[in-house]
């Protein structure tokens, strides 16, 4: 295959992955809401409702607080841009994403963090108490979640001697024993805790609340409207799909395309959607039976996640 054809394929792969996640994010939100409402005895909105909401939001006027600066506008854009950038280069439908060699777990996490930081900054830029409250709380949770996250990455990276994402997914295909190893399982459990915390799901934050005193994420984005709000909803849902996609590919890599070829890629895409839908449903079911934790109980949850990850890292070294 010529260089040009290879580059074109890579670009195509990136575009398809991004489009899939852009559509899949809102659909996952719709699915999770649907599951919730059915379990609560309601019919609920159709699964594609979030997509309709987005269409409506993008057509509306954007409002910004009078004394805000350019940072307020940059927040939503960077939130989506960071999500797009990491989705394009990550092993979601295939283990051969574009620039796969330099798609590093640490780098991906820090790029996502850039989006969160800009969102927290733009919340402070609104000049209101709510913005500051959401920003402060989400930064606190982020600071406490980071040890669990990075040690979990470390624990997963030790057996394969690399933190390269495609390699981490591929080793599950070639050496399934790695997935069943305590290191990987403990690390993934910790990763799941971090995902719930970072994407503002129960028991960390209630995504459907607008009660001032308890909200975290919603408080941060309170001043956004129109297309900006649309971008934030989209960005958050893309991050959720991305993180869950990574989680399932690290846990059950089968189905992901490991060879070049359109058929394998489509199979990978379908497999990814199914796996993410199953995990999303499970999280929705879990949310129905869970209450939100108090903010000051969260350190215990995140410390628990950290301990799991540390155990994983230690067993990874001992097992060698």
């Amino acid at each position: 295959m010529s260089d040009l054809a290879r580059v074109m394929t890579e670009i195509l792969v990136a575009i398809v992955q991004v489009v899939a996640v852009v559509l899949g994010g809102p659909l996952l939100l719709g699915l999770m809401r649907k599951v919730r409402s059915r379990l609560e005895g309601r019919i609920g909105a159709p699964i594609h409702q979030p997509l309709l909401d987005l269409r409506k939001l993008f057509a509306k006027q954007r409002m910004r607080p009078r004394e805000s600066s350019w940072v307020f506008g940059a927040g939503p854009v960077l939130l989506v841009a960071t999500a797009v950038a990491v989705v394009a280069v990550s092993p979601l439908a295939t283990t051969r994403p574009p620039l796969g060699q330099s798609s590093d777990f640490f780098a991906v996490v820090f790029v996502l963090l850039l989006g969160s930081v800009f969102l927290a900054l733009s919340a402070l830029d609104t000049g209101t108490a709510f913005g500051g409250m959401g920003s402060s709380r989400s930064m606190t949770i982020g600071a406490l979640a980071e040890p669990a996250l990075l040690v979990a990455i470390l624990a997963m990276s030790i057996p394969s001697h690399t933190s390269n994402l495609p390699a981490l997914v591929r080793i599950g295909l070639t050496h399934p024993a790695v997935i069943a190893s305590p290191a990987r399982i403990l690390a993934l459990a910790s990763f799941l805790v971090v995902i719930l915390a970072e994407s503002g799901r129960l028991p960390v934050d209630n995504p459907s609340t607008h009660l001032e005193l308890t909200m975290i994420h919603e408080a941060m984005v309170l001043e956004y409207s129109g297309a900006d709000l649309g971008l934030i909803v989209l960005g958050e849902s893309m991050r959720l799909v991305f993180l869950l996609g990574l989680l399932v590919n690290l846990l059950i890599p089968w189905g992901v395309a490991d060879r070049p070829g359109a058929v394998f890629f489509v199979v990978g895409l379908v497999a990814l959607s199914l796996k993410v839908a199953v995990v999303g449903t499970a999280i929705a079911v879990f949310e129905v039976f869970t209450a939100k934790m108090r903010l000051f109980r969260l350190p215990e949850l995140l410390a628990g996640g950290f301990v799991l990850a540390l155990l994983g890292a230690v067993t990874a070294v001992v097992a060698r």
Binding site: V77, A120, T162, A167
Partner: protein
Amino acid sequence: MNEVCVLTVALAGTAAAILGAALPPSTRVGAAVMFTWVSCVAALVAAVSVLHSGHVIALSSSAVIPLTGVTVVLDPLGAVFVIAIAVVALASTLYWLGYASHGLATRSASCALPLFVTSMLLVPFAASVATFLVLWELMALTSLVLVLTDQSRREAARSAAQWYAVMTHVGAAAILLALVMLSAHSGGQTFADIEAHARHLSGVARGTIFVIALLGFGSKAGAVPLHVWLPKAHAEAPGPASALMSGAMVNLGIYGIVLVGNVLLGGGPVWWWLLVSALGVVSALYGALYAATSSDLKRLLAYSTADNMGLVLIALGASGMFAASGHRSTAAIAMVAALLLMVNHSLFKGALFLAAGAVQVATGTRDLDRLGGLMRRMPVTGVVFLVGALSVAALPPLNGFVGEWLLFQGLLHGLPTSNTSVVISVAVAVAALALTGGLTVAAFVKATGIGFLGRPRSEEAAQAHEVAITMRAGAGALAALCLVLGLVPMLVLPALERGASSAGRRGATSSTNGWISLHLLGLHGVLAPSLLAGGLAAAALMVIATRRLVHRRSHAWPAINSTEPWGSGRQVQTARMQYTATSFAEPLQRVFDDVIRPSRDLDVSHLAESRYYIERIAYRTSSDDVLERQFYRPLIAGVRWWGQRARWLANGSVHRYLAYGLIALVIVLVVVA
């Protein structure tokens, strides 16, 4: 050529100091800055030629310091430090041109600042105990003068200078002791002599010397618990001086540790480096925690310096541990990571302190709770601070991220091949690093968000104007370098590798694929920072274009409209309703209550008529340094008590003093005999 450079550094620096002291106020700062630049450029030329050619510069003269003479050697390790210091000094002195009219044009300051820069530039050149100590003392004294610049206006500056003077001299005494022990053994006082003889020392003696030197240099690097002077002195020093102290001077503490540990003693057993790592972990966590809860802008930056130096120490310690267990390539990576973290820190902390100085000039305050809204009023300073903050927080595409990535890779690849004690300490180091990272992000979101965004919290902040062009240029240059090194770290990595290999950590660590991606040699680790940044920029443009495209098809106009934020139904929202730095940090402070032990004070005064009505509530909280309160205050009290008790020994009677002399002489004779 090289000799000329070294002489130029010293002579131009001295000339700058003399001119700064002698000329009238209108011209003294300009002249001092010109000659300081000559000195910096000469140092840069010398350092770059050493790194480029690999030949060390060596000079000696017996004429300059009586009895011992001066010995000057610049090896690649020293050259790395010289470059970092020279770059920060160039930017800070440019900034000084604009800052001078705000209280840094006095005779003493214009004399001390060039001398401070020159002595820092020359410390890595020193190659004998006497040369080193003279330059080290000169650096300490001139920076002390700079800390005292504002003492007539600020009581706190005097106390900060006192703390600084004591801590730096206790440190200098420890360094003196370590170096004298080394030279006593080797019989000569040049570093070459010491290096040749040090391997014949017993393990206990080597360990003792290393620990003493670590304490001495650690106090200069701001390692916790020897950091107490740092948040005081760095905060009280005027803008350019605090940038120089935090961006350049603390590096020399690291230089000293590498000099004694790696070069003079030629490496050591695992426990040395475990100690260094432990010091690093404690500094990193403690610094990050106090940075996250501090509400004074410059104190926050100073604590973050302790935190960053902790990261450098972790990397140094890891490098030593890997080398001691025989893993040369990971040891080399960790050493390069240490140097990169240090260079990065010089750049971003220099930029941040210069921006903080600009804020102080424009608003007259450093209290975050009285700032806000500066991004609109001081756009350049705001962006500089934001870039610096993102860089400290190790976010791509800035240089801080590359440094932390390299450190993580070093730890990750060193982990599986080491023995148990190393494994446990490395795992703890990664966890500490991660928590530090999280806290740093929170601290700098707070500093940027409360200080520069939102609405002004005081009249001064509302009236702020952008500072002079030279100040913006000085700070902006450092911020631009942060971005450049974040995109193309390969610009400096080869130089850092040479520096690392002259510190005994040989082995190529990275191969660069053009200017784009960074491969770790022999390991599976690749990073393409510029592609990452390019992808991000492309994605951001795509998002903006899509939003515009979609919006054009709708009928809402204008696309964006500014309005009052929502106030829960209230009509009027004041700036005081915003979160402050204190309230932002409150959740973290509460989580780490047991460590920080903040003091809280709640005063409720009731109306005279009825206790059911409250007239006023006053709430005060302060998180002063817990180590200062729990360790240093009792220590000082103890010393004072001892001093009081010892006063009866000196009652003014000459006979008594003669008796002391006689007793001492007898004791000495007994001991000698």
